[in-house]
């Protein structure tokens, strides 16, 4: 649940707010009890996997040289007009092989066939992948660095100085010698003025070796083990501020707004910045596409086509000193100062992550899918066919079978095998 929603709930319904706090997954996930549950689950998976492997291997050892007599949960039989059990067994073997049964054991009057033995290893693979997933998650939990960096177009700074917020204060892991600069933020919009893509052209490097890289949403830049991905962007107008009395000039960018253009054009949303050493504050409203209709300033659309800034300069008592509307290249004078809006630049906020557990987690997820697929596609089935003593009509073919899963469906399969074999053995 988002903090704003929690805040809303706290104001409207205190009981539900307390419940929401109690059941908040993010809070539960960080609780001591939750770690205990995961540990117990991990323990269970490890013990069960070990016992299953051990059981499987010892079962194989025990049955390797012993003829399995009763493996039944399905029994069936039919009489055929064959008189020689050896040729009958050969014909049955050929049939079973065409149906992809593996012949485990064969005698003159007996066949033991199996199917889907690999399924067991699929299950083991799946459970081992879960153990690996736990290990990956623990490594992530201990070593992950998750920081937010803020860059302004045209500025180069040491990567460590760009960090504005960190999930975990692991200073030792932070990059030390790396420099980063944001060359350009490029945005793409649909006809309906919906943001469709953000590209951030970055230059990253250390000790003189620099590389140009483009970071975009779903396309992180990887550099020295860090992944850098765009999170949001906003405007950073470039100003020249001139003290006309002292004849001093300073150029600077001010990062305004904290979200995408949809927020900027909302009524009543203003941003502000302080003019250093003057005691004056400038309140800014951004107009992406300036149109003046009947003397009123308005914006036609949210896309930046004809940018302008509506400025209001106030003193410490919030008393208006000056106001005006500036387009790129225009300036306004007040109290022996001049403020010029040079051009519109952008700032970009990026997520910077270093996660040593991630490759392990991804690998384990892939293993889990492979393991599960093997488990349910190849489930273990056994079939034992014994040729009985000759009756009046011929030989008696006895079936016994066992399926690890889905016994009723296997029964249907056994009946089908019986029908096919009856046909084969009767026709020859």
């Amino acid at each position: 649940m988002q903090p704003q929603e929690l805040q809303r709930l706290e104001d409207s319904n205190f009981i539900i707010y307390r419940l929401a706090l109690l059941l908040n997954p993010q809070i539960i996930a960080r609780s001591f009890y939750f770690y205990i549950i995961w540990l117990l689950l991990l323990n269970s998976v490890v013990v069960c996997t070990y016992r299953r492997i051990k059981g499987h291997l010892s079962a194989q050892k025990n049955t390797r040289f012993i003829k399995p007599v009763a493996i039944s949960n399905h029994e069936n039989s039919f009489n055929c007009n064959k008189s020689d059990s050896k040729t009958t067994i050969t014909e049955i073997t050929d049939y079973l092989k065409t149906k992809r049964w593996r012949i485990n054991h064969k005698e003159d009057d007996l066949i033991i066939a199996g199917h889907g033995k690999i399924g067991f290893w699929g299950s083991i693979l799946f459970h081992l992948s879960l153990i690996l997933l736990f290990i990956g998650a623990v490594i992530t939990g201990i070593t992950r660095l998750d920081a937010q960096i803020l860059l302004t177009e045209g500025y180069s700074i040491p990567l460590i100085q760009s960090v504005v917020r960190m999930q975990k204060p692991l200073v030792g892991q932070l990059p030390q010698g790396e420099i980063i600069s944001l060359k350009k933020i490029e945005t793409h919009y649909s006809k309906e003025e919906i943001l469709t893509d953000i590209y951030a052209k970055l230059v990253v490097g250390d000790y003189g070796a620099f590389e140009k890289k483009t970071s975009r949403v779903n396309g992180a830049v990887n550099f020295n083990g860090y992944s850098i991905m765009p999170k949001s962007y906003g405007i950073a107008p470039n100003f020249s501020f001139v003290d006309l009395k002292k004849n001093q000039k300073a150029d600077f960018n001010i990062n305004l707004g904290d979200w995408l253009p949809e927020r900027w054009v909302k009524k009543g949303v203003f941003d502000s910045f302080i003019l250093p050493n003057t005691g004056l504050k400038v309140i800014v409203q951004f107009v992406p596409n300036l149109k003046i209709v009947k003397g009123k300033t308005t914006s036609h659309g949210k896309l930046v086509k004809n940018p302008a800034l509506i400025l209001k300069v106030v003193d410490k008592q919030d008393k208006k000193v000056a106001d005006g509307l500036l387009k790129q290249g225009q300036s306004m004078d007040f109290n022996n100062y001049r403020l010029k809006f040079n051009r519109l630049d952008y700032w970009g906020a990026f997520t910077m992550v270093r996660d040593s557990g991630l490759p392990i987690v991804v690998f384990s997820l892939v293993l889990a899918i492979i393991g599960l697929s093997i488990r349910f596609v190849f489930y273990e089935k056994k079939l034992q066919i014994i040729i009985g003593k000759k009756t009046g009509k011929g030989l008696k073919v006895n079936f016994t079978g066992k399926a690890q899963y889905f016994p009723a469906l296997f029964n249907q399969e056994i009946n089908k095998i019986k029908e096919d074999l009856t046909e084969i053995l009767e026709s020859k």
């Binding site: 704003q4 929603e5 998650a137 992944s227 991905m229 992550v353 987690v361 349910f376 016994p407 009723a408």
Partner: protein
């Protein structure tokens, strides 16, 4: 393209309605030939439904999974796809279409309630993982829904059998052990699909936000669904649970699935733009 999409959508809804009516006639008037008509209608509806999805895809120029309308369009298709494949494997569950066809009509109707306007993919959704993540989520949902309907039929049939009463409606379905196997198989398939859904979502999130798990409400509930169906499969395959108590669990588990898909998507979640519009 918009007209073709509308035509195919309404035609498929029409055939789902015809299917529901013919199934009902077959049931009320005890005429088995209408049962076959019901099945054929659902097959035609499914084919046209597929066309509707393709035309929507061409119209919006991305896999149609943004907003409620596109979601229910794809979700309804996945439910019928799973049912259709299961019924091809086992003839005697075709009558379950009597529940599934109206269910899909209601589902798409719920989607149509929102404004099915042209949607645009915003940057986070411009990823190949999108269709993998969502398609498998809906296949899991389809498998669990079909398993639930069959579980309800199973329990009703079992009850009548225990009372010693023979009701023709239930006799048209497969024998109980066969139905039980099919239900468990559907749960197993749904479980694999849900695993792929969660795994693909995690890998996608790692590349998008730098974190493969964020305890988002939909994420958390998906994990809960996964754990519950994992427990059901373990009860069956490891502890040997069978029959009534296992099938009761399958039927009850859908509540968690419904909350995961229908309820918590409406709360503040990274999945919200996908589920609501």
């Amino acid at each position: 393209m918009r007209i073709i999409e509308a035509l195919t959508l309404w035609a498929s809804l029409g055939f789902y309605t015809v299917s529901s009516i013919t199934y009902l006639i077959s049931l009320i008037f005890k005429k088995d030939k209408y049962l076959d008509w019901g099945w054929k209608s659902i097959t035609v509806a499914f084919a046209i439904h597929t066309l509707a999805i393709i035309t929507r895809w061409l119209y919006v120029d991305h896999v149609p999974v943004i907003g409620r309308y596109e979601h229910t369009l794809l979700g309804g298709w996945a439910v019928i796809a799973v049912f259709w494949i299961a019924a091809r494997k086992m003839e005697k569950i075709k009558l379950a279409g009597i529940f599934l066809a109206p269910f899909v009509i209601l589902m798409i109707g719920h989607g149509l309630w929102s404004r099915p306007t042209r949607t645009t993919l915003t940057p986070p959704y411009k990823s190949g993982w999108l269709w993998i993540h969502i398609t498998f989520a809906w296949f899991a949902y389809g498998a669990f829904i079909t398993a639930t309907f069959l579980a309800v039929i199973y329990l009703l049939k079992l009850r009548k059998n225990q009372q010693g009463r023979v009701v023709k409606f239930y006799e048209r379905f497969a024998d109980l052990p066969l139905m039980e196997d099919l239900i468990v198989r559907l749960v197993a398939f749904g479980f694999v699909a849900q695993t792929i859904d969660i795994a693909s979502g995690s890998i996608w999130a790692a590349g998008l936000w730098g974190s493969y798990w964020g305890w988002d409400p939909v994420e958390t509930w998906s994990l809960l669904v996964w754990i519950i169906y994992a427990i059901i499969l373990h009860l069956r395959f490891t502890l040997g649970w069978k029959g009534k108590k296992l099938i009761w669990l399958v039927a009850a588990a859908i509540i968690i699935e419904a909350v995961s898909f229908g309820g918590f998507g409406y709360m503040g979640s990274v999945h919200t733009p996908l589920l609501i519009k």
